[in-house]
Symmetry: C2
Subunit: 342 residues, 2 copies
DNA sequence: TCTTTGGGGGTTACCGGTCACATGCCACCC
DNA sequence: GGGTGGCATGTGACCGGTAACCCCCAAAGA
């Protein structure tokens, strides 16, 4: 029961190809899906007609009709942040390589949780959430339980069993490592400027910093809570810098470190002469800053790819796909950290 | 002819809602689309059932069935670049506000042009292209003619009539302005480090720089061709800096400027004492660099929103929608530019 | 009282595909 | 020669909606 002729202005459908090629529409479907069971001559003929008519398959229809899953929506807040942007890149790359269409929806801080599900293209669309901050974590929680979702998170879920559908960078030991690096340069202790936590507790990075100070019996200053931007780092430490006993500051990300370094210079502190500063993320600019920034490189792109790998396994458990891994955090020592002045 | 009962594991469809509410499926459709012609009591009843069943509409089916267009795919290369990322943000924001689903597909430098169309979700899906560089421009050209597309481009198409479906930042005069700023500080001339062009010709920014030098009769150095990253800026100017007569450098973007400043310091040049540097874009870090960077602020987010506005008008010409505008480029003078040393 | 009108709501034909199953045909084997 | 596969294709139902069209009935107007 072929439908009417395609009206003008609408592009060719599988029926048009079938009609011109003189085969059934099911045969065309077999050809474009590269199934077997089509003779070589028929295949060639259909392919020719496809090219001739400029036929392009409609993925909407294909998915609706129960074809293989090939859509994923990424929920993320602020893509201006290096971590989120790099994770997104990894996700998109892996998804595209697997033939998926990637949708993206940005979470505003005040977004209503009830309509998160309405952003999806269909009720059970696969989702990846970049949940490094509060809006992300809330979106993750707000998703209906029947939605297949994986997430890149700041920390593993509490409780005993780790959620196998979540990935995260193990930055707690990395923060401890960075802290020990600063202590090994002779600093009496290390101060910390924190990014916002994704939950009410202190971020993992801050905990790693605490771990290192506690383990070596150093004074444990109150962590300074800042935002994500250079400006917030700048504002957070201004008052702190008058205290010359503060000789080392570890920052929750490189942007904060940038703001901290500016505040330090304005306070007449030389880096690394008077003050050592270290960051987190190894954003592309860090190596070129003045001074170049000691930081912890985090493999966000790899994390994003791994997150998609988890999703694929969740969608096709029987395929027993390999789960991609990502690099361990790595301390990159540059010019901004040096011996303690005292 | 209601279909069979919904099998378990599949989420509720419009038929399930209709059955439970005791109305026809068309009435449910009217309710969720906020059409008139439904009595208040029926509407309330349907809404109750929707909430009860956790019904979420399937946008795929809705679009396939000829509902209003509510999808757009953004084609962009490298989202790591500030300009592209900020444009994307503006596009996403505007599209989401209009109820559109945003798809994103990243153009690899070597991507085949023939399968660009296959990335779209359906044959005539609306598209926005971020075409600041060669992959973007090629993708724009490779799209089939029946696809409704708007684009953020580096420069207006050549020829007389401007393409009304393209938007761009008028950075040629802005570059001239930045150049005149440097000249006004006493520099004999200004050197230029260029981002890659989207075409074979020199980018608009470089032309603006030439305009200013020509208009004032200054020597016109050969522009240095670099890439997009700090590293490429660093490499591009290393040999140049031995020449002490070079006292002012304008860069095609802030990242290049960052690399240039590092190369300058390594060459023993003081900024802005020995050398003035200016950038383009006003990326978030620029104000906090050491020294803070003189640059030209470009409203990429506004451009992205405007690009979507054009798309909306293209899709609904009869609605006569207002076309959003974006801010003019603005020179931001900071610490990195100062009086000529000679 | 009869006709018009318009709101409320149902019916049917798609949209562009996929899936499960039926069918025709020819080679092969006993 | 007839059964038996297996390959190449066709057929009909269905995915979850929307649009166009039809029908029914109460209120208003003639």
């Amino acid at each position: 029961m072929p439908p009417n002729d395609t009206p003008p202005g609408r592009s060719a459908s599988i029926w048009d190809v079938a009609r011109v090629a003189g085969v059934s529409q099911q045969t065309v479907s077999r050809v474009i899906n590269d199934k077997t069971r089509v003779s070589e001559s028929t295949r060639a003929k259909v392919m020719r007609v496809i090219a001739e008519l400029g036929y392009r398959p409609n993925r909407l229809a294909r998915t609706l009709a129960g074809g293989p899953v090939s859509w994923v929506t990424v929920l993320t807040s602020d893509t201006a942040l290096f971590g989120a942007a790099a994770t997104l890149r990894g996700m998109e790359e892996a998804a595209r390589a697997a033939g998926f269409s990637v949708g993206i929806s940005v979470l505003e801080p005040g977004a209503s949780e009830t309509d998160i599900a309405l952003r999806l293209n269909r009720p059970q669309e696969p989702v990846m959430v970049i949940a490094y901050d509060d809006p992300g974590v809330r979106a993750l929680r707000a998703l209906p339980p029947d939605v297949p979702v994986t997430a890149a998170v700041e920390r593993p879920g509490n409780g005993s069993g780790h959620d196998p559908w979540q990935v995260w960078v193990d930055d707690r030991p990395a923060a401890a490592h960075a802290t020990r690096h600063l202590l090994s340069l002779g600093h009496r202790t290390v101060h910390y400027v924190s990014i916002p936590s994704s939950t009410s507790a202190l971020p993992q990075r801050a905990r790693g910093w605490q771990d290192a100070l506690r383990a070596t019996g150093r004074p444990l200053p109150e962590p300074l809570r800042a935002g994500w931007t250079p400006r917030s780092g700048y504002l957070a430490v201004r008052s702190l810098l008058a205290d010359r006993s503060v000789t080392a500051i570890l920052c929750g990300n490189d942007d904060l470190a940038l703001g901290v370094m500016r505040a330090a210079r304005e306070a007449g502190r030389d880096i690394p002469g008077d003050l050592s500063v270290a960051g987190f993320d190894d954003s592309p600019a860090s190596a070129y800053l003045h001074p170049s920034l000691t930081t912890v490189r985090l493999d966000f792109e790899g994390l994003g790819r791994a997150c998609f790998g988890r999703l694929l396994r969740r969608l096709q458990p029987e395929a027993a796909l390999a789960l991609p891994t990502w690099n361990e955090p790595e301390l990159i020592v540059r010019e901004s950290s040096g011996p303690s002045p005292v």
